[in-house]
């Protein structure tokens, strides 16, 4: 019997809004427990929800990015169940009429595009956090009411590799558009994996759900594990029970968390405290026009500028970096050199100062200026590093590179004549090396260059030195 896996995902994404979905409380991660609360998100008697417009905007953006159909009319419903971290005894979600339906995201499978279909995108509120200790449970309600977006895919995935590719791509799109920071470790991205097997022509078998996986790697591992487990059960004629499973990454095994055969009845019915959400076509077009440029387009453009793939990926990891790059590029048209500087010397210096490269506070025009001066030969590479360090050390004062070059006396001021003098001197004093070079030893050239550069104390343009030296040696 040949079984083909059918895998679908239920993804929860925490939206990057300043305030919660139904009240004005802050959504800041890591705040003092129970410090970001009000009657609404605490579910006090008489409190009522008021929809945060920004949440709608981000959800519509997501629907557009996923090529979904945005429903002009959508509504909210109550999902009723008891749990101490669910303050009202129900969660406000969109069950009967979600904000967006359909859509797709293509992933790259060995050169061809595989289409993963989206079932729906909807808005809902998060519950508080339960922290289980031995003997007691602590409740932090800061997370209660944080806006979530649920993205459900069709069971179009066939293996863990496809799932991970999809998740990377989805994360890239959502981060790039400032919709979420999608951090699996922080819980701003949560992925539930549904897996079932079917043999050719047969309907899908019973599905199991794997939750609480904390890394993309483990998602892939868990899927491999579960497919294996289901296949082996079927081989021996055992039935597959609808269960909720967790993944133990240390043992590379699955743990049964809940048996879902007895399903919860959530008694979904409309949320009458919130009116039907009506969106105008104009509104959707405005949101569409505010979407950042498609990330694939941006990628292509960066490639065209000559930036290698791994550096393109690095820039795209951070919206700030991308914007910074473009600002520098506006004043200095060598993309490769910019990127090399940012991820090379600049990154090194930043690390030393323990500043994140994302928190660059230096004006991009100054970086462009630095690169221009170096390119023109006015300063050497070494000098440029010195200037950069100074600029970083004195970020608040925001020193102008030109001023610094003057102040630190770093200009490559030596003219050709002065350089020639130094070259003659070095050649005179190092006959052995000169003979070695003429005998064909290339290393000798480097040696002589080193000596000359040292003597010029960084004030000579290495290109000029090189050509003068070569001329003289070849005579």
């Amino acid at each position: 019997m040949d079984y083909k896996p059918a895998i679908g995902l239920e993804i929860h994404v925490e939206l990057l809004t300043k305030t919660k979905i139904f009240c004005g409380c802050k959504t800041q991660f890591g705040a003092q427990p129970n410090s970001q609360l009000c009657p609404v998100c605490l579910g006090l008697p008489g409190a009522l929800p008021v929809l945060n417009e920004k949440v709608v905007e981000l959800a519509v953006m997501t629907g557009l990015l996923l090529n979904s159909q945005i429903n002009y009319s959508s509504g909210f419903d109550r999902k009723n169940y008891f749990y101490p971290d669910l303050v009202k005894g129900y969660q406000i979600t969109q069950y009967y009429s979600p904000l967006a339906q359909g859509g797709y995201l293509d992933i790259d499978q060995e050169g061809t595009a595989k289409r993963i279909r989206i079932n729906r995108v909807h808005m809902e509120e998060d519950a508080g956090k339960s922290i289980h200790l031995s003997g007691e449970t602590l409740l932090d309600y800061n997370r209660s009411g944080v806006p979530l977006m649920e993205i459900v895919t069709e069971p179009d995935f066939q293996n863990g590799e496809e799932v991970v590719k999809f998740l990377y791509k989805l994360r890239e799109k959502l981060v790039h558009a400032n919709i979420s920071d999608c951090k699996l470790e922080e819980g701003s991205l949560r992925v539930d994996v549904n897996i079932s097997l079917a043999s050719e022509g047969e309907p899908l078998g019973k599905k199991t759900e794997i939750k609480n996986i904390n890394s993309f790697k483990n998602i892939e591992k868990a899927i491999i594990c579960e497919i294996k487990r289901q296949k082996s059960l079927l081989k021996y004629g055992d039935e597959i029970r609808e269960q909720t499973l967790g993944f133990n990454d240390k043992e590379n095994s699955l743990i049964i968390m809940r048996d879902k055969e007895i399903t919860n009845d959530y008694m979904y019915f409309p949320e009458y405290d919130l009116p039907q959400l009506q969106l105008e076509p104009d509104y959707i077009e405005i949101v569409r026009s505010n979407l950042p440029r498609d990330i694939d387009e941006t990628k292509e453009e960066l490639f065209q500028l000559g930036i290698p793939e791994n550096q393109v990926d690095q820039i795209l990891k951070s919206k700030k970096m991308l914007q910074y790059f473009y600002k520098v590029y506006a004043n200095y048209k060598d993309a490769k050199k910019i990127v090399n500087l940012l991820f090379g010397d600049f990154a090194k210096l930043s690390n030393e100062k323990r500043i994140s490269i994302e928190d660059i506070a230096l004006p991009p025009q100054y970086i462009a200026e630095l690169l221009t001066l170096t390119n023109q030969g006015k300063i050497s590479n070494v000098a440029m590093k010195k200037v950069l360090k100074h600029m970083l050390d004195n970020q608040e004062q925001c020193p102008n590179p030109n001023d610094l070059i003057e102040k630190l006396n770093l200009e490559q001021t030596l003219g050709k004549d002065e350089i020639r003098e130094i070259v003659f001197k070095v050649l005179r004093d190092n006959e052995v090396a000169v003979n070695d070079y003429q005998k064909g030893k290339e290393k000798a050239f480097k040696y002589l260059m080193g000596l000359i550069m040292r003597d010029t104390k960084g004030k000579a343009d290495p290109q000029v030195v090189r050509s003068i030296l070569k001329d003289n040696l070849d005579k």
Partner: protein, 484 residues
């Protein structure tokens, strides 16, 4: 004492706000032990407020119409720092950290206390309150009606110039009829529900309880209007009803529906109703027959919809964040709710849960919503031909307390009021007569959405030409000495 009169007296310093407040507090002290209308008497805060008002008057500052007027709030309306119990054991120690919008909009008035109700506003007699059973001031052996029994009893007995109640299926109007006061349920969405304990989110409204129609208009003006904290509140600014109060009923088209005058209606109630209709006709109103064919389904539809919403709205009372918590038990939530809720509340939660589960959702809930649509369209068709629809408020007058009545028979007390909530329409009950036992009879005036002005014109005309509202209940014979 009516609002305008008191306002005049305060402005002219004929009486100080402190003295006025103290008089009311004294009456409460004298009468409430028999009446049991109050859950919390906010004596100190009331006097503090009164002193503030007097200072303001002394400074010659502008005075609002409701400023300094002694009033009460039903105990399911949040008041910051003041116990708000919903007449339930589960909230017997709950002090809200915020006030309802309606409470804030009346912050210039003098809050005398929080008044009694059926537990969580579920009931028609105020007998399900955890604290006490409020009595009817006209006959202490009878119920005041419910669930806003405390509000109407306090106003009828002169212990509160006005009160705010809440109405989901008739909880302001039915007790208003039983106690001979004016009880108004506004159009759904006209008054903010923020801070009011939800029973059925799609039906609940807060409204004024007063002695006169004019006072009702003044209070409604003060509390209505858009509230950004309530997504269901209508985008309406301020509305004044002075013009409506000056108009008469000439040319007013009044609809009468046989469906709202069922066989079970008590003959004396029917008589009073017919007399009222005749009076309005003699004043120039045109009486038109209208049809409301689906009214009899109202009770069933209401029971399903209201109970389902209530079951969900009461899920938050689990003892985890507030409310009484059972100690040292295996399942804290179950124990808290079992011990904290009364019988009627439990019954409705169970039924509401039942109607929402599995197949029942389609069978009961969705069906009920469809029939609700029919009731709404009945009213729409009727209002195409008339300005107001009149009916008795209740089938009968106040019944004796302590009667063990089957829940479905108790529900009949709301038979004539329920359809109004299902359609989101405004309605008002006014006193239109007494039966041979001296018990008040209520006349219900229903208008189309945002037709409160028409209700005020009709009701006010009626009161100008009658003197029923001038009569006082037996209980305050003794209280008269305090200048009521």
């Amino acid at each position: 004492m009516y609002i305008k009169k008191i306002n005049k007296m305060l402005k002219s310093k004929e009486i100080s706000c402190k003295e006025l407040t103290e008089n009311y507090l004294k009456n409460i002290e004298d009468l409430d032990s028999s009446l049991c209308a109050f859950i919390t008497i906010t004596k100190n805060q009331a006097i503090q407020k009164a002193i503030e008002i007097d200072k303001k008057i002394a400074r010659g500052q502008e005075m609002g119409l409701l400023e300094g007027i002694p009033m009460t709030l039903k105990d399911n309306i949040s008041t910051k720092g003041i116990l708000t119990t919903a007449a339930s054991k589960i909230l017997e120690n709950y002090i809200p950290p915020y006030s309802a919008t309606v409470a804030n909009r009346l912050s210039d008035s003098v809050l005398l206390g929080k008044v009694n109700l059926d537990e969580f506003a579920m009931g028609t007699s105020t007998e399900t309150s955890y604290f006490a059973k409020t009595k009817n001031p006209w006959d202490l052996a009878r119920v005041p009606g419910g669930s806003s029994g405390g509000s109407v009893a306090a106003v009828a007995a002169g212990l509160s110039v006005f009160s705010l109640g809440s109405d989901t299926g008739g909880s302001i109007r039915q007790p208003a009829a039983f106690c001979g006061v004016v009880g108004l349920k506004p159009t759904y969405g006209l008054v903010s529900r923020y801070g009011v304990y939800s029973l059925a989110s799609s039906l609940d409204q807060v409204g004024p309880v007063t002695r006169t129609v004019e006072d009702s208009a003044h209070v409604l003006s003060a509390i209505l209007g858009h509230d950004s904290m309530d997504s269901t509140s209508a985008p309406i600014g301020k509305i004044g009803y002075n013009r409506a109060l000056l108009q008469d009923v000439r040319g007013m088209r009044i609809g009468i529906a046989s469906e709202l005058l069922p066989m079970e209606t008590d003959p004396e109630v029917k008589q009073a109703f017919n007399r009222s209709v005749k009076l309005l006709e003699s004043l120039g109103a045109e009486i038109i027959e209208v049809k409301l064919p689906h009214m009899e389904l109202g009770l069933t539809v209401y029971s399903i919809i209201a109970y389902c919403e209530a079951a969900s709205n009461l899920a938050r009372y689990d003892g985890v964040r507030f409310g009484s918590t059972a100690e040292g038990s295996l399942d804290m939530v179950t124990e808290t709710r079992t011990k904290g809720f009364g019988q009627e509340v439990k019954r409705r939660i169970m039924l509401g849960t039942f109607f929402l589960q599995g197949e029942n959702y389609k069978k009961y809930y969705e069906q009920a919503k469809k029939v609700q649509g029919l009731i709404i369209s009945d009213f729409q068709k009727a209002f195409a031909n008339c300005d107001c629809i009149l009916s008795p408020t209740t089938l009968d007058t106040a019944f004796e307390s302590g009667k063990e009545t089957e829940p479905h028979l108790m529900a009949l007390n709301d038979l004539l009021t329920i359809p109004v909530n299902l359609a989101g329409l405004p309605a008002m009950s006014i006193l239109c007569g007494f039966n041979s036992k001296g018990l008040p009879i209520g006349l219900q005036i229903i208008a189309n959405k945002y037709g409160e002005d028409k209700m005020f014109t009709t009701g006010n005309s009626f009161q100008i030409h009658t003197d029923f509202h001038l009569q006082r209940p037996r209980i305050i014979e003794g209280g008269k000495k305090n200048g009521l």
